[in-house]
Amino acid sequence: MAQHIYLETAEGSGKFKYRGEAAASDDPRSFAKKMAESGLRVEVRDQFGGLEYVKEETE
């Protein structure tokens, strides 16, 4: 199944940009972990969801 990678553009912004489809040399889980160390969230989708989107946060 395809893995489509989205990365938050700035810490806490809630804005995610499409990075592309994961290839064999990619490691989305580890990528998410390393980006989290910089305060950035990664979302992996099994379907393309547009070039960017804003994630509405709910309390």
Binding site: Q3, I5, L7, E8, T9, A10, K17, R19, G20, E21, A22, A23, S25, D26, D27, P28, R29, S30, F31, K33, K34, M35, E37, S38, L40, V42
Partner: protein, 133 residues
């Protein structure tokens, strides 16, 4: 930018510091742009993918031109410029690799504002500033 040191860079540093073995370090470093979408800890210099097209080439970084203050290593601004026809591939960030027997990644920085595509004369500036932590 969101940067990290992948596993192979950690191994290189451990070998250099504890074993004084620098066969994979070589002289000088190379600055490159990468197109991998989700590089993780196991990314290697061999599996990095780069844009292709006129004008794209790795930039050579001279050992003596780095400055180190505390735990931060800095290098002067470097500029990549796309040539005729632009480049193929979306640039996701930059990496610095060694030039020894088996090149290793010593720093990889993901550009959270990217990825970027390059038409002729588009430029991408990099001012390497690596925190060793």
């Amino acid at each position: 930018m969101a940067g990290f040191l992948p596993d192979e860079g950690e191994t290189l540093i451990a070998n250099a510091v504890f074993k004084n073995a620098d066969v994979d370090r070589g002289t000088g470093l190379e600055l490159l742009l990468f197109t991998n979408s989700a590089p993780g800890e196991t990314i290697t210099a061999a599996t990095l993918t780069e844009p292709t097209g006129t004008g794209y080439a790795r930039i050579q970084l001279t050992d003596g031109s780095w400055s180190v203050s505390g735990d931060v290593a800095s290098y002067a601004l470097q500029t990549f410029t796309a040539g005729s026809g632009g480049w193929t591939g979306s640039v996701q960030g930059y990496a610095i690799v060694t030039k020894g027997t088996t090149p290793r990644i010593v720093a990889i920085e993901v550009d959270a504002s990217g990825p970027y595509t390059f038409a002729e004369n588009d430029t991408y500036d990099v001012t390497p500033q690596i925190t060793v932590a």
